[in-house]
């Protein structure tokens, strides 16, 4: 009896507040942990599992395990996949390069204080805030070869009307142009922020030493701005690789698959062909690609970080 009583004293009653304060670490992390598990780890795991199966969503036939078949088919017997990988990189490289250059030029142009600066910054934001699908529709009309705006302007400039999205040679680059139109402002804004925090002293010293504006740009602004440029390029590259909405609304990957990227191809596999396994394997490869690109940029950034 006595022992039992003693045990009761030794073990105090369960108190929620005490338990909480003792396990604060877990309790505070739990919500985000659950979120990450449910919204990130599970889908990724499920995609991985699905990529090793073949399934069209049937309620009757369960997914069939096929091992690595989906992957081997993609690499050995599917030219559309290989082409779409090349296209995805081509599209992203062209779009992001031009966006960085234009963004830098715009940022330099808007550097310093002048009247109406905020207005211009707001106007710059407009293409970014528009819904991509609505943008796609608007550009579809602009690119329309017969009744579209662009072709009705070209003859005035002495140029021949073009088929634009109706041509396998031009379609992808028209899409890149839309991407550039939409995302250059974001580049400009990031770079403007980068420019604003550059230290004054080196520039003053350079001016005293008689460096001309070009020299100041190439020997001071550009190197000092490099970390900003790299981060901006990294963010934009990942986004550009993932571009889906404008391609889907404007060309659906056509004509002749000439604007089909990895993302739209996996969409086609999943929702047009009902090959959920194959679509998942494409997405996993895509995931690996994006991961690789990110790591590459992080490495570059480290290098620059050390030098700067």
């Amino acid at each position: 009896m006595a022992i039992a009583k003693g045990a009761g004293i030794l073990r105090p009653r369960f108190r929620l507040s005490e338990w909480l304060s003792r396990h604060m670490k877990i309790v505070f992390v739990l919500p985000s942990l659950i979120f990450v598990l449910a919204m990130m780890v599970f889908p990724l795991g499920y995609t991985l599992w699905l990529s090793l199966n073949e399934w069209n969503g049937s309620s009757i036939a369960a997914p069939k395990a096929v091992g690595l078949d989906n992957f081997t088919t993609l690499f050995t017997n599917d030219t559309r996949f290989g082409d779409s990988v090349v296209r995805t990189f081509g599209f992203s490289a062209v779009a992001v390069t031009i966006e960085v250059i234009f963004g830098l030029l715009i940022a330099l142009l808007l550097q310093g204080k002048f009247w109406g600066q905020n207005l211009i910054k707001t106007l710059l934001l407009l293409p970014m805030v528009a819904t991509p699908v609505a943008m796609g529709m608007a550009w579809l009309l602009i690119f329309e070869p017969n009744i579209g705006l662009l072709n009705s302007l070209l003859p005035d400039l002495g140029l021949k009307p073009q088929p634009w999205l109706g041509s396998p040679q031009q379609a992808l680059w028209c899409l890149a142009a839309v991407d550039i139109w939409q995302w250059t402002p974001m580049m400009a804004l990031i770079i403007m922020a980068g420019l604003a925090i550059l230290p004054e002293e080196p520039f003053e010293a350079a001016r005293v030493d008689g460096a001309n504006p070009l020299q100041r740009f190439f020997y001071l602004t550009l190197p000092l701005l490099m970390p900003t440029l790299i981060v901006a390029t990294l963010l934009r590259s990942i986004d550009a690789l993932k571009t889906f909405d404008i391609i889907y609304t404007m060309t659906k990957g056509g004509p002749q698959y000439a604007s089909e990227t990895i993302n739209t191809y996996s969409y086609t596999q999943a929702f047009e062909y009902f090959a959920l396994g194959k679509a998942s394997s494409i997405l996993l490869i895509f995931f690996a690609i994006v991961l690789g690109v990110s790591l590459f940029f992080i490495q570059i950034r480290k290098r620059w970080g050390v030098q700067a």
Partner: protein, 492 residues
Amino acid sequence: MRRNFENSFRRLGLIVVLVLLAALAVACGDTQVASNTAPAASTLPTVASSTGNTTLASGGNATTSSSSGTGVTTVAGASGTGAATSADLTAGVSKNFAGKEIRLITANHPWATGMAKLIPQFEQASGMKVKAESYFEDQLSQKLQIGLTSGSSGADVFMYRPLQEGRLFVKNGWLNDLSGQAQKATDWNWADFQDSARNTVTVDNKAYGVPLVTEREIVYYRKDLFQQAGLQPPASMDDLLAAAKKLTDPSKQQFGIVMRGQRSPAVTQFSSFLYSYGGNWEKDGKSAISSPEALSAYKTYGDLLRNYGPQGTLNMSWPQAVAIFQQGKAAMWIDADSLYTNVLDPSKSTIVDKVGYAQFPAGPGGSKPYNVTSWGIGMNQASANKDADWEFIRWATSAPVVMALQQGGLPGARSSVWNSPDGLKGFPVEYARVAQSSAKVGVGADRPAVINVGQARDIVGAPLEVSIQGGDVSAAVTEADKKFSSFLVSDK
């Protein structure tokens, strides 16, 4: 200390990057979710039309003209119905399922618009509640797939495209077999639905849906231009080519013809060319697209668009094609007859009073336009209250309701409605004549009858793209034939 700080900082950076990447993976891995939302935000004809050839213009003119009390006259020739139809659209609706709720999922289609106006009458007569949701064509397909894949009974009754998704849905066990109910409901009269329409919703001798909307491929032509040029509407393929040639004048930005050129959407409109040249997709279960007949059809389709069509047809589905016709830049437009409200809408069309309609021209194999059921209504296999669902389907496809919808300009599938003068009231006279004559000679499919229709369309549509560009059609057809053959083997 500093080193320590740097290390932990680096580790933090790594964690942040990993989390970002995981988020990215979710964004990509979940294309289902991510990409669905994109088109969802819009009301886009292009999005709505990629695969099908069916929707009318968004916000189309299909307002139902009649409502209860209008007095829909009984239809002669509806065997079995006798003279049973009353003035009330809801005759025969029972109160057996009062209090039950049905979830109806529809496409953003004039059928749904018309139905929305009639549903309150049904609710009143039956005491049931109908909760309707509508989506754009492609989203509907995805919505249904996701909902049905997860086996949820969320949707009870839904619109679907029998030719595009029917076989897949049946194979996956998503559609309830309605044959029993259809046979039992004698006053509803299953036999009144056109043969081709019933065939479209029938898989392995079982009816998995009820036809809602039918369509045929016809020639829309500009009466004024044809008259000026002294031409008759084309009766044969040679006429068609000659008329297209004569009416093409690039200096005036006027083209002889416009049709869909996008690979997959063009397939359905190419089908009538294929049949009229005497070809078909398959023969005895094997690919037939490399036959000489099919080759001529592929060549003609491409020649028409390349020589006499506007620029950029390769990226045109019907919304882009009809826009050219609406703007008066093309003398002919060949597409589904169910799209006719687009050319008659004065807010979009500059040629409202100049449009004529003609039956699809005859090729070596005769005039063989498709005559298909573009939309049907089906019941979810997993639905909890199937009898209540059937009560709704039976009412929504009953002769008086179909009559009311067709009078509003929506071509239905009931013979009795088509045979009655009242059923043709909603259509232009010439249009009604052409639709009827096309139905008589029509073929009941406008795409390969397979399970994986999306893939099949991409395969058989590839030679069209080559042909439109003036490439080597025979080589393209040979390659497509090879792919289609192996596809047919795997698509079982």
